[in-house]
Symmetry: C2
Protein backbone atom coordinates (compact mmCIF):
# COMPACT_ATOMS: atom_id res chain seq x y z
CA UNK A 1 0.00 0.00 0.00
CA UNK A 2 1.27 3.48 -0.77
CA UNK A 3 1.36 6.04 2.04
CA UNK A 4 -1.75 7.60 0.48
CA UNK A 5 -3.56 4.26 0.72
CA UNK A 6 -3.45 2.86 -2.83
CA UNK A 7 -2.70 -0.77 -3.64
CA UNK A 8 -2.75 -0.14 -7.39
CA UNK A 9 -2.02 2.99 -9.39
CA UNK A 10 -4.35 4.70 -11.85
CA UNK A 11 -5.21 3.33 -15.33
CA UNK A 12 -4.72 -0.40 -14.85
CA UNK A 13 -4.17 -2.16 -18.18
CA UNK A 14 -2.39 -5.10 -19.75
CA UNK A 15 0.74 -2.95 -19.94
CA UNK A 16 0.28 -1.76 -16.35
CA UNK A 17 -1.51 -4.55 -14.47
CA UNK A 18 -0.83 -2.73 -11.19
CA UNK A 19 -1.71 0.65 -12.67
CA UNK A 20 0.71 3.44 -13.47
CA UNK A 21 3.38 3.55 -10.82
CA UNK A 22 1.91 0.57 -9.00
CA UNK A 23 4.91 -1.70 -9.55
CA UNK A 24 6.86 0.55 -7.18
CA UNK A 25 4.76 -0.86 -4.35
CA UNK A 26 6.52 -4.19 -4.83
CA UNK A 27 10.11 -3.14 -5.41
CA UNK A 28 11.09 -3.95 -1.82
CA UNK A 29 10.37 -7.63 -2.48
CA UNK A 30 12.16 -8.31 -5.76
CA UNK A 31 15.64 -8.39 -4.28
CA UNK A 32 14.74 -10.60 -1.33
CA UNK A 33 16.05 -14.14 -1.28
CA UNK A 34 12.81 -15.22 0.45
CA UNK A 35 10.86 -13.99 -2.59
CA UNK A 36 13.32 -15.05 -5.29
CA UNK A 37 13.53 -18.66 -4.18
CA UNK A 38 9.83 -19.57 -4.71
CA UNK A 39 10.05 -17.68 -8.02
CA UNK A 40 12.90 -19.92 -9.13
CA UNK A 41 15.54 -17.20 -9.02
CA UNK A 42 18.90 -17.48 -7.36
CA UNK A 43 20.58 -15.05 -5.01
CA UNK A 44 19.03 -12.11 -3.28
CA UNK A 45 19.46 -10.50 0.09
CA UNK A 46 18.06 -10.97 3.56
CA UNK A 47 16.86 -8.00 5.53
CA UNK A 48 14.17 -7.05 8.04
CA UNK A 49 11.47 -8.04 5.53
CA UNK A 50 12.72 -11.63 5.40
CA UNK A 51 11.10 -13.01 8.57
CA UNK A 52 7.81 -11.30 7.70
CA UNK A 53 7.70 -12.81 4.21
CA UNK A 54 8.84 -16.24 5.41
CA UNK A 55 6.33 -16.33 8.25
CA UNK A 56 3.44 -15.28 6.03
CA UNK A 57 4.22 -17.96 3.45
CA UNK A 58 5.25 -20.74 5.84
CA UNK A 59 1.87 -21.97 6.98
CA UNK A 60 -0.05 -21.53 3.74
CA UNK A 61 -2.08 -24.41 2.30
CA UNK A 62 -4.04 -22.59 -0.41
CA UNK A 63 -4.42 -19.17 -2.01
CA UNK A 64 -7.40 -17.03 -2.97
CA UNK A 65 -7.09 -14.26 -5.54
CA UNK A 66 -9.20 -12.12 -7.84
CA UNK A 67 -9.36 -12.51 -11.60
CA UNK A 68 -7.20 -9.42 -12.22
CA UNK A 69 -4.44 -10.84 -10.11
CA UNK A 70 -4.67 -14.15 -11.97
CA UNK A 71 -4.58 -12.62 -15.40
CA UNK A 72 -7.23 -10.06 -16.19
CA UNK A 73 -10.84 -10.26 -17.27
CA UNK A 74 -12.56 -13.24 -18.89
CA UNK A 75 -14.34 -14.62 -20.75
CA UNK A 76 -11.63 -17.25 -20.99
CA UNK A 77 -13.17 -18.78 -24.11
CA UNK A 78 -12.25 -15.64 -26.03
CA UNK A 79 -9.13 -14.92 -24.04
CA UNK A 80 -7.83 -18.33 -23.02
CA UNK A 81 -4.47 -17.42 -21.63
CA UNK A 82 -2.85 -18.79 -18.52
CA UNK A 83 -2.37 -15.62 -16.54
CA UNK A 84 0.49 -13.33 -15.57
CA UNK A 85 2.45 -15.98 -13.71
CA UNK A 86 4.24 -18.02 -16.37
CA UNK A 87 4.50 -21.81 -16.72
CA UNK A 88 5.76 -22.32 -13.18
CA UNK A 89 3.86 -19.88 -10.98
CA UNK A 90 5.34 -19.00 -7.58
CA UNK A 91 2.45 -20.39 -5.53
CA UNK A 92 3.19 -24.14 -5.70
CA UNK A 93 -0.23 -24.79 -4.17
CA UNK A 94 -3.91 -24.72 -5.17
CA UNK A 95 -5.06 -21.19 -6.03
CA UNK A 96 -8.77 -20.30 -6.05
CA UNK A 97 -9.51 -17.52 -8.54
CA UNK A 98 -12.74 -15.52 -8.06
CA UNK A 99 -14.25 -14.80 -11.49
CA UNK A 100 -17.58 -14.60 -13.29
CA UNK A 101 -16.35 -16.95 -16.00
CA UNK A 102 -16.31 -20.72 -15.51
CA UNK A 103 -13.24 -22.61 -16.67
CA UNK A 104 -11.72 -26.03 -16.07
CA UNK A 105 -8.93 -26.17 -13.47
CA UNK A 106 -5.58 -25.16 -14.91
CA UNK A 107 -2.68 -27.27 -13.73
CA UNK A 108 0.67 -25.58 -14.06
CA UNK A 109 4.21 -26.73 -13.37
CA UNK A 110 5.61 -26.78 -9.85
CA UNK A 111 2.43 -27.66 -7.98
CA UNK A 112 0.26 -24.64 -8.78
CA UNK A 113 -3.28 -25.41 -9.92
CA UNK A 114 -5.70 -22.57 -10.60
CA UNK A 115 -9.35 -23.32 -9.76
CA UNK A 116 -11.93 -20.88 -11.10
CA UNK A 117 -14.75 -20.09 -8.68
CA UNK A 118 -17.85 -18.40 -10.06
CA UNK A 119 -20.02 -18.14 -6.95
CA UNK A 120 -18.16 -15.51 -5.01
CA UNK A 121 -15.42 -14.82 -2.52
CA UNK A 122 -16.96 -16.72 0.38
CA UNK A 123 -17.25 -19.85 -1.74
CA UNK A 124 -13.62 -19.49 -2.88
CA UNK A 125 -12.54 -19.11 0.75
CA UNK A 126 -14.56 -22.15 1.80
CA UNK A 127 -13.02 -24.31 -0.94
CA UNK A 128 -9.56 -23.02 -0.09
CA UNK A 129 -10.12 -23.76 3.61
CA UNK A 130 -11.15 -27.30 2.84
CA UNK A 131 -8.04 -27.80 0.72
CA UNK A 132 -5.78 -26.14 3.27
CA UNK A 133 -7.01 -28.20 6.21
CA UNK A 134 -4.97 -27.15 9.23
CA UNK A 135 -2.88 -24.78 7.18
CA UNK A 136 -3.70 -21.14 6.41
CA UNK A 137 -5.53 -19.64 3.47
CA UNK A 138 -3.62 -16.69 2.04
CA UNK A 139 -5.74 -14.02 0.36
CA UNK A 140 -3.28 -12.57 -2.13
CA UNK A 141 -5.49 -9.83 -3.52
CA UNK A 142 -6.29 -7.85 -5.51
CA UNK A 143 -7.92 -5.01 -3.74
CA UNK A 144 -11.48 -6.03 -4.51
CA UNK A 145 -11.20 -9.55 -3.12
CA UNK A 146 -9.31 -8.35 -0.06
CA UNK A 147 -11.88 -5.60 0.53
CA UNK A 148 -14.77 -8.07 0.35
CA UNK A 149 -13.00 -10.26 2.89
CA UNK A 150 -12.42 -7.31 5.23
CA UNK A 151 -16.01 -6.12 4.82
CA UNK A 152 -17.33 -9.53 5.82
CA UNK A 153 -14.98 -10.05 8.75
CA UNK A 154 -13.27 -12.98 7.03
CA UNK A 155 -9.68 -11.92 7.76
CA UNK A 156 -8.00 -13.26 10.89
CA UNK A 157 -4.64 -11.66 10.23
CA UNK A 158 -3.46 -9.10 7.69
CA UNK A 159 -0.06 -7.69 6.88
CA UNK A 160 -0.14 -4.24 5.30
CA UNK A 161 3.19 -3.50 3.65
CA UNK A 162 3.35 0.28 3.43
CA UNK A 163 5.71 1.86 0.90
CA UNK A 164 6.66 5.54 1.33
CA UNK A 165 5.47 6.70 -2.06
CA UNK A 166 2.38 8.63 -3.11
CA UNK A 167 0.38 7.27 -6.06
CA UNK A 168 -2.17 10.13 -6.06
CA UNK A 169 -4.82 7.88 -7.58
CA UNK A 170 -5.80 4.31 -8.34
CA UNK A 171 -7.44 1.67 -6.20
CA UNK A 172 -7.59 1.96 -2.43
CA UNK A 173 -7.71 -1.17 -0.30
CA UNK A 174 -9.96 0.22 2.41
CA UNK A 175 -12.42 2.45 0.54
CA UNK A 176 -16.09 1.75 0.05
CA UNK A 177 -16.44 -0.43 3.12
CA UNK A 178 -19.80 1.13 3.95
CA UNK A 179 -19.36 1.95 7.58
CA UNK A 180 -17.72 -1.37 8.48
CA UNK A 181 -14.99 -1.55 11.09
CA UNK A 182 -12.09 -3.99 10.93
CA UNK A 183 -11.98 -4.88 14.65
CA UNK A 184 -8.28 -5.56 14.32
CA UNK A 185 -5.25 -4.47 16.29
CA UNK A 186 -1.65 -4.11 15.23
CA UNK A 187 0.43 -6.89 16.75
CA UNK A 188 3.71 -6.20 14.94
CA UNK A 189 5.32 -3.28 13.14
CA UNK A 190 8.57 -3.78 11.24
CA UNK A 191 10.51 -1.02 9.49
CA UNK A 192 12.50 -2.62 6.66
CA UNK A 193 14.36 -1.19 3.65
CA UNK A 194 11.77 0.50 1.41
CA UNK A 195 8.73 -0.80 3.28
CA UNK A 196 7.05 -1.02 6.67
CA UNK A 197 5.10 -4.17 7.54
CA UNK A 198 2.09 -3.73 9.83
CA UNK A 199 0.52 -6.98 10.94
CA UNK A 200 -3.03 -6.77 12.28
CA UNK A 201 -4.94 -9.51 14.04
CA UNK A 202 -8.64 -9.74 14.74
CA UNK A 203 -9.36 -8.37 18.21
CA UNK A 204 -13.13 -8.83 18.55
CA UNK B 1 -4.45 8.78 10.94
CA UNK B 2 -7.13 6.14 10.45
CA UNK B 3 -6.24 3.00 8.50
CA UNK B 4 -8.17 4.49 5.58
CA UNK B 5 -5.98 7.59 5.68
CA UNK B 6 -8.12 10.22 7.39
CA UNK B 7 -6.82 12.61 10.04
CA UNK B 8 -10.28 14.09 10.69
CA UNK B 9 -13.73 12.59 10.26
CA UNK B 10 -16.56 14.00 8.11
CA UNK B 11 -18.61 17.10 9.03
CA UNK B 12 -16.16 19.07 11.14
CA UNK B 13 -17.97 21.59 13.35
CA UNK B 14 -17.77 23.35 16.71
CA UNK B 15 -19.32 20.25 18.29
CA UNK B 16 -17.00 17.94 16.36
CA UNK B 17 -13.75 19.87 15.77
CA UNK B 18 -12.12 16.62 14.55
CA UNK B 19 -15.17 15.60 12.53
CA UNK B 20 -17.57 12.81 13.36
CA UNK B 21 -15.63 9.92 14.82
CA UNK B 22 -12.36 11.81 14.60
CA UNK B 23 -11.76 11.92 18.35
CA UNK B 24 -11.21 8.16 18.23
CA UNK B 25 -7.92 8.87 16.44
CA UNK B 26 -6.59 10.34 19.69
CA UNK B 27 -7.90 7.93 22.29
CA UNK B 28 -4.57 6.13 22.57
CA UNK B 29 -3.00 9.30 23.97
CA UNK B 30 -5.47 10.41 26.64
CA UNK B 31 -4.46 7.77 29.19
CA UNK B 32 -0.73 8.27 28.74
CA UNK B 33 1.20 9.87 31.59
CA UNK B 34 3.46 11.52 28.98
CA UNK B 35 0.42 13.31 27.55
CA UNK B 36 -1.42 13.99 30.83
CA UNK B 37 1.49 15.72 32.52
CA UNK B 38 1.84 18.65 30.04
CA UNK B 39 -1.96 18.92 30.14
CA UNK B 40 -1.85 19.39 33.93
CA UNK B 41 -3.47 16.04 34.72
CA UNK B 42 -2.19 13.52 37.20
CA UNK B 43 -1.72 9.80 36.76
CA UNK B 44 -1.82 7.86 33.54
CA UNK B 45 0.05 4.88 32.24
CA UNK B 46 3.28 4.23 30.41
CA UNK B 47 3.33 1.93 27.40
CA UNK B 48 5.09 1.56 24.05
CA UNK B 49 3.77 4.97 22.97
CA UNK B 50 5.56 6.72 25.83
CA UNK B 51 9.07 6.95 24.35
CA UNK B 52 7.65 8.09 21.00
CA UNK B 53 5.62 10.90 22.58
CA UNK B 54 8.42 11.94 24.91
CA UNK B 55 11.00 12.00 22.14
CA UNK B 56 8.79 14.01 19.80
CA UNK B 57 8.11 16.65 22.46
CA UNK B 58 11.54 16.72 24.05
CA UNK B 59 13.43 18.87 21.59
CA UNK B 60 10.65 21.26 20.62
CA UNK B 61 11.22 25.02 20.74
CA UNK B 62 8.09 26.26 18.94
CA UNK B 63 4.90 24.98 17.34
CA UNK B 64 3.14 25.71 14.05
CA UNK B 65 -0.56 24.96 13.61
CA UNK B 66 -3.51 25.87 11.42
CA UNK B 67 -6.37 28.08 12.46
CA UNK B 68 -8.77 25.14 12.87
CA UNK B 69 -6.43 23.50 15.30
CA UNK B 70 -6.09 26.76 17.23
CA UNK B 71 -9.79 27.39 17.48
CA UNK B 72 -11.67 27.55 14.23
CA UNK B 73 -12.24 30.26 11.66
CA UNK B 74 -11.77 33.99 12.15
CA UNK B 75 -12.41 36.83 11.83
CA UNK B 76 -11.33 37.18 15.42
CA UNK B 77 -12.93 40.61 15.75
CA UNK B 78 -16.34 38.95 15.43
CA UNK B 79 -15.31 35.75 17.14
CA UNK B 80 -12.70 36.79 19.68
CA UNK B 81 -12.28 33.61 21.61
CA UNK B 82 -9.07 32.09 22.80
CA UNK B 83 -9.24 28.73 21.09
CA UNK B 84 -9.89 25.12 22.07
CA UNK B 85 -7.03 24.88 24.51
CA UNK B 86 -8.23 26.57 27.72
CA UNK B 87 -6.42 29.13 29.90
CA UNK B 88 -3.31 26.98 30.26
CA UNK B 89 -2.70 25.32 26.87
CA UNK B 90 -0.50 22.22 26.78
CA UNK B 91 2.17 23.74 24.54
CA UNK B 92 4.09 25.90 27.07
CA UNK B 93 5.95 27.46 24.17
CA UNK B 94 5.35 29.97 21.35
CA UNK B 95 2.76 28.70 18.87
CA UNK B 96 2.51 30.16 15.36
CA UNK B 97 -1.04 29.98 14.01
CA UNK B 98 -1.53 30.21 10.23
CA UNK B 99 -4.65 32.28 9.52
CA UNK B 100 -6.02 34.90 7.14
CA UNK B 101 -7.03 37.12 10.06
CA UNK B 102 -4.53 39.35 11.83
CA UNK B 103 -4.64 39.47 15.59
CA UNK B 104 -2.37 40.60 18.40
CA UNK B 105 -0.35 37.85 20.08
CA UNK B 106 -2.34 36.04 22.74
CA UNK B 107 -0.39 35.25 25.88
CA UNK B 108 -1.85 32.40 27.90
CA UNK B 109 -0.89 30.86 31.22
CA UNK B 110 1.93 28.36 31.46
CA UNK B 111 4.21 29.76 28.79
CA UNK B 112 2.03 29.38 25.71
CA UNK B 113 1.76 32.45 23.46
CA UNK B 114 -0.20 32.23 20.21
CA UNK B 115 1.17 34.34 17.35
CA UNK B 116 -1.10 34.84 14.35
CA UNK B 117 0.67 34.66 11.00
CA UNK B 118 -1.19 35.97 7.96
CA UNK B 119 1.40 35.46 5.23
CA UNK B 120 1.39 31.70 4.92
CA UNK B 121 2.86 28.47 6.21
CA UNK B 122 6.42 29.14 5.11
CA UNK B 123 6.44 32.44 7.00
CA UNK B 124 5.04 30.75 10.10
CA UNK B 125 7.74 28.09 9.86
CA UNK B 126 10.45 30.72 9.42
CA UNK B 127 9.27 32.65 12.49
CA UNK B 128 9.01 29.44 14.50
CA UNK B 129 12.50 28.41 13.44
CA UNK B 130 13.93 31.73 14.53
CA UNK B 131 12.24 31.38 17.92
CA UNK B 132 13.26 27.74 18.30
CA UNK B 133 16.92 28.35 17.53
CA UNK B 134 18.68 25.00 17.92
CA UNK B 135 15.50 23.28 18.99
CA UNK B 136 12.91 21.71 16.70
CA UNK B 137 9.77 23.20 15.20
CA UNK B 138 6.81 20.87 15.70
CA UNK B 139 4.08 21.11 13.05
CA UNK B 140 1.04 20.03 15.04
CA UNK B 141 -1.48 20.11 12.20
CA UNK B 142 -4.16 20.24 11.10
CA UNK B 143 -4.17 18.38 7.85
CA UNK B 144 -3.98 21.45 5.61
CA UNK B 145 -0.89 22.94 7.23
CA UNK B 146 0.84 19.56 7.40
CA UNK B 147 -0.02 18.86 3.75
CA UNK B 148 1.42 22.21 2.65
CA UNK B 149 4.61 21.40 4.53
CA UNK B 150 4.87 17.95 2.92
CA UNK B 151 4.13 19.37 -0.53
CA UNK B 152 6.95 21.87 -0.20
CA UNK B 153 9.50 19.44 1.24
CA UNK B 154 9.58 21.28 4.56
CA UNK B 155 9.32 18.23 6.81
CA UNK B 156 12.54 16.63 8.06
CA UNK B 157 10.85 14.01 10.22
CA UNK B 158 7.23 12.93 10.59
CA UNK B 159 5.53 10.50 12.91
CA UNK B 160 2.30 9.04 11.53
CA UNK B 161 0.28 7.51 14.34
CA UNK B 162 -2.03 5.02 12.65
CA UNK B 163 -5.17 3.92 14.50
CA UNK B 164 -6.94 0.73 13.33
CA UNK B 165 -10.31 2.32 12.66
CA UNK B 166 -12.02 3.27 9.42
CA UNK B 167 -13.55 6.77 9.22
CA UNK B 168 -14.97 6.30 5.67
CA UNK B 169 -14.78 10.02 5.02
CA UNK B 170 -13.34 13.32 6.21
CA UNK B 171 -9.97 14.91 5.58
CA UNK B 172 -7.00 12.93 4.33
CA UNK B 173 -3.49 14.01 5.21
CA UNK B 174 -1.85 13.00 1.95
CA UNK B 175 -4.47 13.83 -0.69
CA UNK B 176 -4.20 16.60 -3.24
CA UNK B 177 -0.42 16.69 -3.25
CA UNK B 178 -0.37 17.12 -7.02
CA UNK B 179 2.15 14.53 -8.03
CA UNK B 180 4.60 15.36 -5.25
CA UNK B 181 6.67 12.64 -3.59
CA UNK B 182 7.69 12.74 0.06
CA UNK B 183 11.24 11.40 -0.39
CA UNK B 184 11.10 9.96 3.10
CA UNK B 185 11.89 6.56 4.54
CA UNK B 186 10.55 4.85 7.61
CA UNK B 187 13.20 4.78 10.33
CA UNK B 188 11.08 3.40 13.16
CA UNK B 189 7.83 1.45 13.51
CA UNK B 190 6.32 0.92 16.95
CA UNK B 191 3.18 -1.12 17.64
CA UNK B 192 1.59 0.24 20.82
CA UNK B 193 -1.84 -0.26 22.43
CA UNK B 194 -4.43 1.17 20.05
CA UNK B 195 -1.94 2.81 17.69
CA UNK B 196 1.11 2.20 15.51
CA UNK B 197 3.72 4.95 15.23
CA UNK B 198 5.59 5.21 11.93
CA UNK B 199 8.45 7.68 11.97
CA UNK B 200 9.69 8.85 8.58
CA UNK B 201 12.80 10.86 7.90
CA UNK B 202 13.79 12.73 4.76
CA UNK B 203 15.95 10.50 2.59
CA UNK B 204 16.78 12.76 -0.37
Amino acid sequence: MSLDGYVAGPNQSVEHPLGEGGMALHEWVFGLRAWREPHGMEGGEDNASTPVVERNLAGVGAYVMGRNMFGGRGPWAENPWDGWWGDDPPFHLPVYVVTHHAREPLEMQGGTTFYFVTDGVESALAQARETAGDRDVFVSGGASVARQCFANGLIDEATLSVVPILLHGGERLLDGLDGAQLQMECVEAVAAPGVTHLTYRRSG
